[in-house]
Amino acid sequence: MTAAAHVPPAARPAPAPVRRHQWLATLRTVVRTPRGAIGLGLALSVTLLAAIGPAIAPRSPTALLTVPFAKPSSQFPLGSDFLGRDVLSRVLAGGWVLLVMAVAATALGIIVGAAAGISAAYLRGWTDSFIMRTVDVILAFPQLVFALLLVSVIGPKLWLIVLAVGLSHAPQVARVLRSATLEISERDYVKAVELQGMRPPKVMRQEILPNLISPLMVETGLRLTYSIVIMAGLAFLGFGQQPPAANWGSMINENRIGLTLNPWAVIAPALLIALLTIGTNTFTDAVARVTIGVDRRPEEAALVDDLGLQEVK
């Protein structure tokens, strides 16, 4: 084999259409769809508002400035709340903590749930039964009730709320990823590395996880939506940031008695929560639609190759 000498060192691979991060390509496609663009636009603008809100709030969100439930005026564009605080400033200041907590809870839920679901499906047997029965038990409680239970026993600490909401997501994430993994772990490429004697943790990390990107992306978006709703709901019920801190969820609760006097004190936070969840949900939906097309089963990929449809699109 003299030809072997001519092989260029692989440290400099030939310039081929390399896609190191396929999920980036997927995101790009998603953003090009109307659904994806609208969803991402909504979610990003609400996030941006919540992020820079505390800095641009015209007044202190906690100062008592005027009469309770004052109508909108040039001084207070959204009127005042039940204690006479500026609604605009409270809306601007009250989103950031909610968002950070929702993201943290989602991340926790996805990580724990994915680890549990993938291990259950790949290791089978005793591990599978143990994990899935635990999941069944947790699933028996409605998500909000589960979070309420933990918070009311231990107390309304912010980290505890994140933990409770995150853990309440984990079982559902585990379910979804278990079924996705069951299918993938039967594929020949997984058998091929098993024949090399690769250890299960590595098989799960290297061979299975990268092929779960699309269900993971969809699940993340969905869980983020739920986190926001549950966080806001908990705040509404009085678990969350404690008064006098501003929070979209608690604002709805505090001001609903004055709905006829100054509806904006309720409508503004409710609208922002609605726009945010509609945004994340629409975006997730777009991701799901795109990945169904992108992440075809190998047999379908073969068929598409045959017709050359991929190329032409």
């Binding site: 084999m1 072997a4 594929r187 024949l195």
Partner: protein, 618 residues
């Protein structure tokens, strides 16, 4: 099975009389991607007389199924029929309103799909499904029950009430396909389109189904279009054959002319790639892959892969030329006709070089999946540096055997030794040396490569565990092995979905070879590939086996493939060995009746012009 098929041949009319009536006339059919996208198939023209079968052959992606569906006025999602005519007894099916088309489908044009188990409704009884077509088209037949009885007899199925009360899953694959045929024939259509109806069936069943199709068509004057990728099947069945390539008909003419003396370079290549069960020959595949719709360029689509290519071929698409009674879309058809037909080079099979002790040996192996045993009494040796072929139909246990040997299936009994050392069952109990020494190539290259890894990562992966090489050395070794399987180093950074089926299978072979094993277990490695690619892969394996001094177990359902690659053969049936011995002996003078039957039923390519079906009608 009580009723004999009626004497069909006698009921057939005078053959010269029916040849005058052209039943199906297709002119300039064009199917596009979307409404204004590139052509998927174009310039499709052919005519089929009553009672005749036209074979539409081509490899995957050639557009043959697209054409078949267009004959029913149907286009798959994303495609549209953009032009041309499909005239059935003078009636243009493409001009019909959706309502009229519905009337015609089933009654005058019938379709037999590829997979009968998917085409029959699993929740309804066979009888109900058969009468359905007759009920949907009232007026075609007066006595529905009588017609069902009759048509079941015609497809050689038992027409008893018990049969009619069965569900599809209670039938065998062959019976299911007969039911699908009966459904197609029950309204006495004028045209029947068969889309690879025998692909999933084993050779014996396949032969029976083919005989049924042929006799039904000729006795009722039905025009049939038979779509297939299997040239040997088509060669024995049809009078006229159309070879499709990249959405066009490359060559069309009488089977007994086209197959013995192909004039289009593609047809020649395709025929050269078909393995023969009678002779051990070097198979010549066609390198490269067909261009996809929208990338076909101005010139001849086959030019990049063609051995006869001229400069003119690359700039202008050839028009079909009439030569020797057929239409050939090649400017060099006359040159090719003048050239002598090249016979394929014979393979010299060398006797096994290594000693049995250095290879794999199985004694009294039995295996199962908890229930009844799938394999029993398996006993054979694979001497080092020799190739043993394991042949069997689906369900014979050949894949289970492979999985036992490589360690994926752990519950077996008996003795397995490799290089004199006992092999335990299951991957975790085997030593690293044993795992490295026996490598497995999976059947389907579309599922055996991780779509998220580059070819370089896939091929270098086994080195990580089996050798102490550093990263750079691993990648260099991977590049070298890729070169061995005729893939350049630029493949290192590609992903599997950027590769064709043949390239994927080469990568899978490279992954097995990279650790320098002693034994390669190839499980139906060509069954998911086209015949031209199959030939390339088989030749590659044959060369690699020689160069790398490999022992090899070549598992296949295709007896013809065995001839050119293996030294000895084992025939499996229902999990037991019915016969084993040197390749020549088994294929030339088989002793076991099952092997004899199997060999008889293998479709043979009619290269001598004597098996081309009826004389074509013009």
């Amino acid at each position: 099975m009580t009723s004999d098929p009626p004497p069909l041949a006698e009921t057939a009319g005078d053959s010269s009389a029916r040849c005058d009536t052209v039943r199906l006339d297709v002119q300039n059919l064009v199917v596009r991607l979307g409404d204004s996208g590139p052509d998927v198939v174009s310039e499709i023209s052919f005519a089929v007389p009553a009672g005749e079968v036209l074979g539409l052959v081509g490899e995957s992606g050639s557009g043959k199924t697209t054409v078949a569906l267009a004959l029913l006025g149907h286009a798959r999602r994303g495609l549209s029929i953009a032009g041309g005519q499909v005239r059935l007894d003078g009636l243009d099916l493409l001009r019909l309103s959706p309502g009229d088309l519905r009337e015609v489908r089933g009654a005058r044009v019938a379709y037999v799909p590829q997979d009968p188990s998917a085409a029959l409704n699993p929740t309804r009884r066979v009888g109900a499904q058969l009468t359905e077509a007759l009920r949907v088209h009232p007026g075609t037949v007066d006595d529905i029950a009588g017609r069902v009885q009759e048509v079941l007899g015609e497809v050689s199925l038992d027409a008893s009430p018990a049969m009619l009360r069965r569900y599809p899953h209670q039938l065998s694959g062959g019976q299911q396909q007969r039911v699908a045929l009966a459904m197609a024939f029950c309204c006495r259509p004028s045209l029947i389109v068969l889309d690879e109806p025998t692909t999933g069936l084993d050779v014996s069943t396949q032969r029976h189904v083919l005989d049924t199709v042929r006799s039904l068509c000729s006795s009722y004057g039905v025009a049939a279009v038979y779509v297939s990728h299997d040239l040997a099947v088509v060669g024995g069945l049809v009078a006229q054959v159309a070879v499709m390539y990249a959405g066009r008909i490359a060559e069309i003419g009488a089977t007994n002319k086209v197959f013995p003396y192909p004039l289009h370079p593609y047809t020649r290549g395709l025929l050269g790639a078909v393995p023969s069960v009678d002779r051990a020959e070097v198979l010549t595949g066609i390198e490269g892959q067909p261009p996809r719709p929208g990338r076909r360029g101005r010139g001849c689509s086959f030019a990049p892969r063609c051995g006869y290519v001229l400069e003119a071929c690359r700039s202008q698409a050839p028009e079909p030329v009439l030569i020797d009674g057929r239409a050939v879309r090649c400017v060099r058809a006359a040159d090719i006709q003048a050239a002598a037909t090249a016979r394929r080079e014979a393979v010299v099979t060398s006797p096994a070089a290594g000693t049995p002790a250095a290879g794999l040996s199985l004694r009294d192996l039995a295996a199962g999946y908890g229930g009844p045993s799938v394999l029993s009494g398996i006993q054979f040796d694979v001497p080092a540096e020799s190739c043993v072929a394991v042949v069997g139909e689906s369900g014979s246990g050949k894949t289970t055997l492979a999985r036992c040997i490589v360690g994926l299936h752990a519950s077996w009994t008996g003795d397995m030794t490799f290089q004199g050392v006992s092999l335990p069952g299951g991957v975790p109990r085997r030593s690293r040396e044993q795992l490295k020494g026996i490598q497995y190539v999976f059947q389907n290259p579309y599922t055996s490569l991780n779509p998220r890894k580059t070819v370089g990562q896939i091929v270098a992966q086994p080195l990580e565990r089996f050798t102490g090489l550093a990263f750079r050395e691993r990648v260099e070794r991977a590049a070298r092995v890729l070169q061995d399987v005729s893939l350049g180093p630029d493949f290192l950074s590609r992903y599997p979905d950027q590769l064709s089926g043949g390239e994927r299978q080469r990568v899978a072979i490279a992954r097995a070879l990279v650790v320098e094993p002693e034994l390669l277990v190839c499980d139906e490695v060509t069954s998911a590939l086209d015949v031209s690619v199959q030939a390339v892969i088989v030749e590659l394996l044959r060369r690699l086996q020689r160069e790398h001094h490999l022992g090899m177990i070549f598992i296949t359902h295709n007896l013809a493939l065995v001839r050119s690659i293996a030294q000895s053969v084992i025939v499996l049936r229902d999990g037991t060995m019915v016969e084993s011995g040197p390749v020549g002996q088994i294929l030339e003078s088989p002793k076991d009746p099952y092997t004899i039957q199997l060999l008889q039923d293998v479709p043979r390519l009619a290269t001598d012009g004597d098996r081309g079906g009826d004389e074509p009608c013009r």
